[in-house]
């Protein structure tokens, strides 16, 4: 496993159609909104979860691609029970109050073991502790919050169900009904975004990659995961989500050749209306119909005089 020698910065665009990309637990699962601008938000941890899930599907069981922070139960756990040699835990690692050199070495060993075996620890890092801080792994991959290009309009859709959960609910409906119809109907709600194009920025630090053993193969897999993770994350709530654009800026050294925010400005998203492209926020768009598909946006990548040593890869 060769670790990464290059720094990467990337811009990732994904969209949602008639779905809820990321619910806000504070707002009754409405799509997350920036209250000041009405732009939609998707948290970094939401995307990390999808990357982990994709890794589990694509590389399930491969050595070095186990996932530490898992969702749901794993079935094949039962299979190896028979082979397990139950051993008592080592008392030395119990609740030490100090990090003496021996523990430090041990902490390093433990961290290395985790990084070698678990893709998500190697990629995003993890905090390990036994009541004291036994060190933490800072992963090379850093994601920021995703933000929609334009303000989104969350809709609340009421739905009905032709069944009741329990007797009490049925009875309540019967008592409240003023005619003889006794349908066990219950109401529910769904929140959707009719359409939203979201943009997120990410970073891969070559120096931190060297510490966790994050390799060239891993970074290639990360691009795969970003491109395909929505294909395996279908659900009633999500609607149609798709990865639309992945632009990776590769620097030819570990420190990088240019500031990330300067590079990100090279990826511009404009709004298309009636065959014309307008910059986002243009006053002439005020009367335009709302965007309802990816073709209502135009993504341009400014490749002119890119900084020396920066390669622009358009991976999607």
């Amino acid at each position: 496993m060769t670790t990464l020698g290059h720094r990467f910065d990337f811009v990732f665009l994904f969209d949602v159609m008639n779905g809820n990309p990321n619910g806000d637990p504070d707002a009754g699962n409405l799509p997350r909104l920036d209250p000041e601008t009405n732009q939609g938000l998707v948290t970094d941890v939401c995307l990390k979860r999808k990357i982990r899930n994709y890794a589990e599907i694509a590389k399930g069981g491969d050595t070095g691609f186990a996932i530490y922070v898992q969702e749901g139960a794993i079935l094949n756990e039962r299979h190896r029970e028979a082979y397990k040699v139950a051993r008592p835990d080592d008392p030395k690692v119990e609740k030490d109050k100090k990090l003496n050199p021996k523990d430090d070495a041990e902490a390093k060993l433990v961290q290395k073991f985790m990084c070698d075996n678990f893709f998500d620890v190697r990629t995003f890092g993890a905090v390990m502790s036994t009541g004291i801080n036994c060190g933490q792994v800072r992963g090379p991959v850093q994601l920021s919050f995703s933000r929609s290009i334009e303000p989104i309009l969350p809709l609340e859709i009421s739905i009905t169900r032709m069944a009741a959960t329990n007797e009490a609910e049925k009875k309540k409906r019967e008592d409240g009904a003023d005619d003889d119809r006794t349908e066990n109907r219950t109401m529910g709600r769904k929140h959707i975004v009719p359409y939203g194009l979201y943009r997120t920025h990410g970073f891969v630090s070559a120096h931190l990659a060297a510490r966790t053993g994050f390799s060239d193969a891993d970074v290639a897999f990360l691009w795969d995961a970003l491109k395909n993770m929505f294909e395996h994350d279908r659900s009633a709530a999500r609607g149609e989500m798709a990865a639309r654009k992945l632009v990776v800026f590769e620097h030819d050294n570990a420190l990088g050749r240019a500031a990330a925010h300067d590079l990100f400005e090279r990826v511009k998203v404009a709004r298309v209306d009636g065959g014309e492209a307008y910059p986002i926020g243009d006053k002439r768009l005020d009367n335009a119909r709302p965007a309802r598909s990816f073709s209502d946006y135009q993504v341009t990548i400014d490749r002119a005089d890119a900084p020396q040593g920066v390669t622009i890869h358009e991976l999607l």
């Binding site: 637990p25 922070v69 902490a107 075996n117 502790s129 500031a259």
Partner: protein, 230 residues
């Protein structure tokens, strides 16, 4: 201060968590000296030098927003990992997020922008080949080109920091607005703020200082100053 540096940092959000409000995170109003040190160290640091923050300029009005997220409630137990290493299998080493879930709100800063004024001192670990000029040049070169060891962040890693170096002779950038929240007009007392964590002392105690914002600037006491309380 012949070898000070000034770095402008900004971002969409920031969360400089108050140690007394950690579960449901609430950010300090202004970047803490220790977070500012972390930003500088993300660009250049060696054991031979120690960054010292002199002042923080607050360029934007101080505003908050709330974000609630699902988080996991536990950390990876080192003991379990050690026994898995002994066994030679990773069976049973995982953490189920839906069985160990905590929803936590974070009160974060919106659209912050700062100028960090800092310098560095040489430490006892500086060798013969370490000179002030060398490290200063390295920092300036990196910061001017946008190079970094890892992308610096504003408190937590999801809140990415943009940074740009201010040339030594350039005037300080003016604040975008002069609001009372930045201490324009009457000085604002921000109360006790974390100065840094003493990693050398046993138990790693936190050190605090009395933070004040005057005309958009927060002065930071130097190490060893009597203003710093433990």
């Amino acid at each position: 201060m012949s070898y000070g540096v000034r770095l402008r940092v900004s971002g969409d959000y920031a969360c400089f968590t108050r140690p007394e409000l950690k579960t449901e995170r609430v950010s300090y109003d202004v970047i803490t000296p220790s977070a500012a040190r972390g930003v500088l160290e993300a660009i250049h640091w060696k054991p031979a030098i120690r960054w010292v923050i002199d002042a923080i300029h607050v360029l934007e009005p101080i505003r908050f927003a709330s974000i609630r997220r699902n988080e996991v409630g536990s950390k990876a137990p080192a003991g379990k990992i050690a026994s898995a290493m002994k066994r030679g299998s990773i069976e049973g080493l995982h953490l189920h997020v839906d069985e160990d879930r905590q929803q936590r709100a974070a009160t974060v800063l919106v659209q912050p922008a700062y100028v960090i004024e800092a310098h560095f001192d040489m430490t006892a670990r500086a060798g013969a080949e370490d000179s002030v000029g060398k490290h200063l040049d390295m920092f300036n070169r990196r910061a001017a080109r946008g190079q970094c060891f890892h992308q610096p962040c504003l408190g937590t890693r999801e809140f990415v920091a943009q940074f740009e170096l201010l040339p030594a002779d350039a005037p300080a950038p003016p604040p975008s607005a002069k609001t009372a929240s930045q201490g324009f007009g009457t000085p604002r007392d921000l109360g006790l703020m974390l100065w840094d964590i003493d990693h050398a002392a046993p138990g790693r105690p936190s050190m605090f200082f009395n933070a004040r914002l005057e005309d958009g600037v927060m002065r930071v006491p130097p190490p060893g100053s009597p203003e710093i309380r433990r």
